[in-house]
Every structure is written in C-alpha cells, then in structure tokens.
C-alpha cells in the first residue's frame, strides 16, 4: 500500500503507477497510413498532369487575385445580408402579431424551399421579369426610373441570390439562439422597465450569440464555397476567373486545384476567426476552455461543411 502513496502529491491523493494499455493496433495503422501518404505525395508530385508549374505560375495572377477579391466581397455582403435579415426574420417570427410572424414564416418557406442556384439564376435574369424599376408612390407619381440591368448587375444579382437565401437559414439559427435564452432574463429586463426591443437588443441577443455564433461561422465558411455558384451568371469570382483562364489554356486540372488551394486558405483563416469570436461571446460562461481545448474540440467535431443543393 505505502509504495503506491507518494507524499509529495499536492492534494495528498495516492498516485497510481500502472503500466498503460499498449495499443499495438494503432502503431500498425499509423505505419500503414504513413506508407500510403508517402506514396500518394510521391506519385502526385511526379505526375506531370497535375501541372505544378502551371499552378505556381498562376497562383498570384491578377485575374486570380481579383477573383479572390470578388469571392470575399460576395461572401461578406451575403453574410451581412443573411445575419441582418436573419435577426429581423427571427424577431418577426417570434412576434405575437400573427401577420408579422406569418410573413416571416412565408419568406423562410419560399427561400429555403427552393435551390439557391435557381434563386441566383432568377436574380441574374430579373430584367426578363421586371425590365424597369421605378421609385415613387404605387399608382401615384414616379420620381425615378431605372432599367433593371443597370441596377441589378451580375454582382448585385449574386449578392441578392446568396444573401436573401442565407437570411432564411440564419433566421432559424437566430430563432434557436433566442429560444435558448432563459425566459427569466427577459422578465428581469422587463421588471427593470426595459422595453421589449431594448431587452432583446441588450439582454437576450447578446446571450443568444453564444448559440448563434458557432453555426454562423459554419454558414460563413459554407458561403465562401457556395458563392462559387455565381459563376453561372458570369460574376468573376475565384472559380469563374480560373474557368476563364483554363478556357483559354486548356490547363483545367491545375487551375481547378489552384482554386481549391485558395478556397482552403480562406476557409482556414475563417476557422481561426471563428474561434476568437466564440471566445468573445462566451465571456461570463461558467467554464472557460483554453484555446487548445477548444481547438481540439473543434477538430474533433469538424465535419465536411458542404451543404450540397439547397
């Protein structure tokens, strides 16, 4: 017995010294994986058709960089539209007024129930549907009049298609976040004389953020990739830019790999940003995880973020 007790143990707990289980299977698996990995890298590096030199040549080409700019711009604008629209729709959805909550329900139903690719195409061809916009009083005087094509450029159409669709998804995320907050919080705020709006803004939403931020990070990462759909309406994003180049040079695979590499870089940066945002909105939580704990948890729960058609 006494040999098990080490008296330098800080909490006076006896320390157990046991031989840990040896995981021989893991060692075999590791060796096997390493072997396959070395073989894969070797054959990829020596396969001419991957065209590593082509990738190197175009990696920072002007067209590619401006495509990245467009992709980032689209993602940012669509996500801002999505978050603002989503909060609005979520608050409307929880309104006691059936007309307001019904409107929100209808919007979500329509925009979530049709493929985003179709929505992007519809916005791209909006001029066929509504050739002219005018600003004025319905059935009354008109103050300004535009052709649809001058207002809804392909870029604007892309933003509308992605952003309005995203708002429908974000609405559900925000609503779940709001419902996750203890009703006692809103009650305490009301008891202090706050209005519903103020309680929502100052008390409920900041707490809902802890539930809202992680899926929003995933939505942003997903959006970065989904935004490539706008290439169908000729918006020069990253994918469309490399398509133009390989349409000219026929170096399809290297350029698609190049685009993939850039998408990976961007999603990786976003993942790090997400971590810091989550930590900020988690303040005041009972238990604070260290960065490594969180990173580890993220890695374990990371799933392929592609959403397929939606």
């Amino acid at each position: 017995m006494t040999s098990l007790v080490k008296d330098t143990e800080p909490e006076g707990r006896p320390e157990i010294r046991a031989v840990p289980v040896r995981h021989y299977g893991r060692w075999v698996a590791a060796a096997l994986i390493l072997y396959v990995a070395v073989w894969a890298v070797y054959s990829v590096a020596h396969n001419e058709r991957f065209g590593w030199d082509v990738m190197g040549r175009y990696f920072t080409a002007d067209a590619v960089l401006s495509g990245i700019g467009t992709t980032l711009g689209l993602t940012a604008i669509a996500m801002v539209m999505g978050v603002v629209g989503g909060v609005l729709l979520a608050v409307m959805r929880l309104s006691p007024n059936p007309l307001i909550s019904g409107t929100s329900w209808l919007y979500i139903w329509a925009f979530r129930g049709t493929p985003v690719l179709v929505q992007i195409l519809l916005w791209g061809f909006i001029s066929a549907l509504i050739p002219r916009f005018s600003i004025g009083i319905p059935f009354g005087p008109t103050f300004a009049d535009f052709s649809a094509n001058s207002v809804i450029t392909p870029f604007v159409a892309g933003c509308l298609g992605l952003g309005l669709n995203e708002a429908a998804y974000m609405a559900e995320i925000v609503r779940a976040g709001i419902l996750s907050v203890d009703p006692g919080q809103d009650e305490a705020a009301c008891a202090l004389g706050m209005s519903r709006t103020k309680s929502m803004r100052r008390i409920v939403l900041p707490q809902a953020m802890r539930v809202i931020i992680p899926p929003t990070g995933n939505e942003t990462i997903s959006m970065l990739k989904t935004s490539s759909l706008v290439s169908v309406i000729a918006v020069a994003d990253l994918l469309y830019s490399v398509q133009i180049i390989y349409g000219r040079t026929y170096q399809t695979i290297p350029l698609l790999l190049l685009a993939s590499a850039w998408y990976l870089v961007m999603t990786s940066v976003l993942t790090v940003g997400q971590f810091y945002l989550e930590r900020y909105f988690g303040r005041g939580a009972a238990r604070r995880q260290t960065m490594l704990e969180r990173l580890w948890a993220n890695l374990r729960t990371a799933r392929p973020a592609g959403k397929g058609t939606r």
Binding site: D182, A191, G193, S195, I203, G284
Partner: protein, 259 residues
C-alpha cells in the same frame, strides 16, 4: 414618489382574479400595503404567491378585479368608467418604480456585477455612465459586495448573486420592492447575508412585499403577514400574532407542517 403626493396605499388589490387557460390561479385576492410597510406572504407551493407578485408589476395580466400601485391602476387607465389598456411604453414606465427580486436571481450572465447594476439606469433612465457607475459602486458597497464589482455572476456564490440582484433593483430607485422567495435557492449558510440586506432595506423605510418561508424574518422584520392558499388570502395580521396563534384551520395546518 417625488411627483405625486404619497397615496394612502402603496399596493392595493381588490378581488384580483387570474386564470391560466382553464385553471383559476388567483380567486379574488384582496390586500393592501401602506407606504413603508413590509408585508410577508406565506403559503403552500402552488397557492399563487408568485403569480400575485408578477401581477403587481404586470408581468402577468389580471383577468378580474383591480390592482393599484402607488395610487395608479396597474396596466390600465380608467376614463369615463371604462378601462383602457396601457401601451407597452407606459407599462414599462410603471415598472420602473417597482423593483423585483427573483428566486433564481436572473442576473445578466454576460455582464459583470457592476454592469448588471448600471444597465437599467443607463438604458432606461438615460443616466450618464460615470454617474451610473458611481451609484452602482455605492449600491454594491451597501450590499457588502464592494470588492466584487468586476465579477461575472458565474463567479459569485448564490448569496452574492442575490445581493447583486437586490442592488440591481435598487438602482432604479423604486418605491416598492417585490421579493419572490429570495432565499429559497440558496445554501442555508448563505441565507443570512441576504436576509440581513433585506432587513436593513426595511429599516431604511422601503415598502416591501416578501414571499418567503423564513418565518424568523417575517416575525422580526414584517409589519404584516399574509397567508395565501388556493389563490386567495386566507388570513392576515400581525406576524407575531399569526405565527403564534393562527386563527384559521388552514393556517394552523400549514404552520404545523413548516415550523
């Protein structure tokens, strides 16, 4: 309390009814609290004590009867013999003069103790941040938490959290304080600190309605004691007398079980 003359009663309830769906939770509550009075409310679980408190600051709408706070009808305006529902803004204005302390504290977890206390004066009364901070510091000092201003609720014990909650309610300078079992969620050794703060508040002349199971507090601090059962006031009187000689058999029965 500054603008109007002090009314005879701070709270007056006349035949107050409240239903949730088909169940009648309050079946005609009558009571009156004078300014500066401390009224303790006891009664079995489910008798409608919390519901009544929530009606007093209009977190629940009453279905019948009349309820006045500080001389004004709660949630309604009466004109020409008809009742008009108040707008949300006016209800919020009425609530400013009523402080409420909850059984489960309901502190804002994303704010420090100081921020919790500052929030309503800044956001609701439009008070300057510097002034609100000074006031909040003084209030936290008053409830014995001058050294905890920077702590988040999760870093405080239950007793400390409840004292922050009391300071938060006091920051709105209410004319009336409602306490809904303020010590029921606390470990026994933490109850004393909270009751001590409430006792000092009573001595300072605050009007209070306290739903509690702390008979010692009711006896020592209460000016009146109300026993509620089944949605109505069964017995009311001087706390020492009611606790020593309950006249109604249901009061006798309840007290014999809790004392």
């Amino acid at each position: 309390m500054t603008d109007a003359e002090t009314p005879e009663f701070m709270v007056r309830a006349e035949n107050v009814h409240k239903r949730f769906g088909r169940t009648e939770v309050l079946r005609g509550v009558d009571l009156a609290v004078r300014p500066g009075e401390v009224m303790c409310v006891i009664g079995p679980s489910g008798s409608g004590k919390s519901t009544f408190l929530r009606c007093v600051n209009h977190l629940e709408k009453i279905d019948g009867g009349r309820l006045w706070v500080n001389g004004r009808l709660v949630g309604y305006r009466e004109r020409g013999g008809r009742l008009y529902e108040l707008r949300e803004k006016d209800v919020a204005r009425q609530r400013r003069e009523i402080g409420m302390v909850f059984q489960r504290f309901n502190l804002f977890p994303h704010m420090t103790a100081l921020q919790n206390v500052m929030e309503a004066p800044v956001q609701v009364k439009g008070r300057g941040r510097a002034e609100a901070r000074e006031q909040a510091r003084a209030l936290l000092e008053r409830v014995g938490l001058g050294d905890k201003t920077g702590s988040y609720p999760a870093q405080l014990s239950g007793g400390q959290q409840q004292r922050v909650a009391i300071a938060r309610a006091l920051a709105m300078e209410p004319a009336l304080m409602l306490f809904d079992e303020p010590t029921s969620a606390l470990d026994p050794e933490l109850v004393g600190d909270v009751l001590e703060v409430m006792k000092r508040l009573a001595l300072d002349g605050m009007t209070m309605i306290v739903v509690t199971h702390e008979m010692g507090f009711a006896r020592e601090v209460g000016d009146s004691l109300v026993f509620m059962d089944d949605g109505a006031v069964v017995e009311e009187g001087n706390p020492r007398e009611v606790l020593a000689n309950p006249s109604h058999p249901r009061t006798q029965d309840f007290l014999s079980r809790v004392l």
